[in-house]
């Protein structure tokens, strides 16, 4: 079974950069009674996994274990949510290791490209555009962590997602442990997040990260409306045709026909407040320019010619089949529900979305391409 505790405690709520991520990781590294080792050892002893994740709006702790072990582990979760101490030594190790990891990642063109393109498109202070700076990691201090923890976890706004072969008395178990805690008292809510844009003035960028690299990391990105937009379902189909699956136009042309890359993909970011359309690939150093040209060639085709009926049927069948395939088992199903709840979509969203996928016509896709595939709206970045 899996038990996810999801708090409104993502990076968008932090006053100082990197605090939310540090709290999320270090929440299991020491309480009043237990050291980081004792916590990890307890989790391991019961054969469980305790994963943490920090995103823009939300942060979570997910416990995965055999159902019979849950009663042994709930007291530990309660302890982590009420008595975490963020010991100085743990914070120092975290800082040192995060700095090393950052230093290493900065050597990779794809890492550098991924963070720059979002900063260009949203602005460097926007919740979806900001990224990790060395200075923020160095400046982390224990008191900031403790304050964030008390406000956004101990008293934080919490949602619980639980799935799997659940114990019969699951509600009693949860109520008797987590049910007694003082959640949902935080002042900040999702509506207090500042999503104002500050995009880069320049659309075209080339960055030299490593003179000797044999490939360039290419990213093209433009802002888009979010999942609640009436265009969303149609855009998902259009994106699939363009670069969303193995047989897509981009893959067929740039990988399977020209061999410029091992893979090229396009996708719509799944953020809560708004989205962006991204094309992403690593291509041979000397064919990066050609690769970008081919991407625009493919987008022009979608704007000027109707998608062939057979191709569209294939894409529809593929999308429907892959949705069916992702509903394999309780963990996958709860994740889909979670996504609808976090995006504030209604319970009939699934049926409506599938209806659009099944019925959309070539003319509607062409109209969407004309509306959104405007080359001048895209930021273009190549990192060598």
């Amino acid at each position: 079974m899996s038990l996810e505790l999801l708090f409104e405690a993502g990076a968008a709520f932090e006053a100082k950069a990197q605090v939310a991520a540090a709290v999320n990781t270090l929440i299991k590294n020491g309480t009043q009674d237990k050291s980081a080792f004792e916590i990890a050892e307890t989790v391991d002893f019961y054969g469980a996994y305790l994963n943490t994740q920090c995103s823009t709006e939300y942060s979570s702790l997910t416990l995965s274990c055999l159902s019979r072990q849950l009663p042994n582990l709930l007291p530990l979760l309660v302890e982590l949510l009420t008595e975490s101490q963020f010991p100085q030594q743990e914070l120092d190790i975290y800082k040192q290791n995060s700095l090393q990891r950052l230093q290493m990642n900065l050597k990779k063109g794809e890492f550098v490209a991924g963070r720059l393109i979002d900063a260009y498109a949203y602005g460097p202070r926007h919740p979806y555009g900001k990224y990790t700076h060395k200075e923020d990691l160095i400046a982390l201090n224990r008191q900031d962590l403790l304050d964030f923890y008390k406000g956004f976890y101990t008293h934080g706004r919490l949602k619980i997602f639980v799935a799997g072969k659940l114990p019969k008395d699951i509600f009693t178990l949860l109520n008797d442990s987590l049910g007694n805690l003082p959640f949902n008292q935080a002042d900040s809510t999702l509506s207090s997040i500042d999503y104002s844009h500050d995009p880069d003035q320049e659309k075209l960028h080339t960055v030299i990260n490593d003179d000797s690299s044999v490939q360039g990391a290419i990213r093209l990105e433009r802002l888009m409306p979010g999942r609640k937009s009436p265009d969303w379902s149609g855009l998902m189909v259009l994106n699939t045709v363009f670069g969303g699956y193995f047989g897509s136009r981009l893959m067929s042309n740039i990988r399977e026909d020209k061999g410029y890359t091992y893979g090229i993909h396009s996708y719509l970011q799944n953020h809560i407040h708004e989205s962006a359309w991204v094309v992403s690939t690593e291509a041979g150093r000397d064919v990066c320019g050609e690769t970008i040209k081919e991407v625009w060639k493919e987008s022009t085709l979608l704007k000027t010619e109707l998608v062939d009926k057979e191709e569209l049927q294939l894409v529809k069948n593929y999308v429907i089949g892959s949705v069916l395939g992702t509903l394999d088992g309780p963990f996958q199903i709860i994740n889909r529900w979670k996504s609808y709840i976090l995006h504030d979509l209604s319970a009939d969203h699934f049926d409506k979305h599938m209806e659009v996928v099944k019925t959309i016509q070539p003319a509607a896709l062409k109209a969407l391409a004309e509306k959104y595939m405007d080359e001048s709206k895209f930021y273009q970045l190549t990192v060598f």
Partner: protein, 415 residues
Amino acid sequence: MIQYTKFVLENGLRVLVHPDDTTPMAVVNIMYDAGARDEDPGKTGFAHLFEHLMFGGSINIADYDEPLQLAGGENNAYTTNDLTNYYLQLPAQNLETAFWLESDRMLSLAFSEKSLEVQRKVVSEEFKEHYINKPYGDVWHKLRELAYSTHPYRWMTIGKELKHVEDATLADVKQFFFKHYRPQNAILVVAGNVQLEEVKRLAEKWFGPIESGEPYTRDLPKEPRQTKDRYLEVSADVPIDALYMAWHMCDRLDPKYFPTDLMTDILGGSASSRLHQKLVKERQLFSGIACYHLGTLDPGLVVIDGKLVSGVTMQQAEQAVREEIKKIMDEPVSERELQAVINKTESMIAFEDMSVLNRANSLAFYELLGDASLINTELARYQSVTAADIQQVANEIFREGNCNILQYKGKISQS
């Protein structure tokens, strides 16, 4: 308990059926008993290049992906040093489409010059993306060559060098196909919302007529017992020094595999493991460290790898690892440590078995090992491991002279 039924076609193809009506999907998994270890030392990277070519059209079907996607299916494949595996899932009503596609590419590929030419380039880009254009990307090339003097595990699945892939010819491709991709070298697993009788009928209809081919006898050179520790120092443009240590271990079918697997978990499998606790948390010599084994069918490697905290020397780091190793050789692990890794293994197996795709893949793997029913006895074998068993394998693996040490040092760079 994972239920399945096995039957064998006249041409030698082994078929396993694992029905599960809780999913609307069907899974078709074909595992070929051919991996990078079966390659000619002068033509490495071939099993993997070949995996790419399997999507370039077969004798009667110009394109593999299109009809599958039209049937709402998805597929992928991977190559290891030991085997190559192809798997797909699609809505169960469309099961026959999968039989049609998979049987045609087992019958014969199209062997198109254009497909070979493009996939040579694609694999070259894959080589660059993962093994050249990435910090530490060449570690496994170096470590394998250091640890293996003779056995074909000394090269990686991507190939020893780019040139081998670039030089591949259509004649090589054909030869590889008819040597390894025959029914008697393959295992077909059909799982999900399927009926045994229907699978029997489809298997006979689509795979039955394929010729069985010549039997392939694997006769790989054995790795001689290592008697002296080997050191290799590499200097590259990386920001952080890294230490890799690798020791020879038993093969996958050896009963010692189970205590070896648990031993690596105790040393370095999680946040409460010994190496992490002692060397990352207490002594702060490493920023991260792990212990694991390669899980290969022929005798493999136990590996410890870690990134050094800056200012720590290679000698200090190696010395600290050796102190921990000495402890596990000299004293039996505690009952609680042993129980923890057994509990962890139990839940790991339970989580893996939740997905029908994983179950199909595991069934094929155990059948390749010699007997699919091993899938249901694995947990019991882990549960019967004792602290004495672990101490014994630790002493065999960590014996003097059995270690390969790769010191991967960062150049002082100006940035």
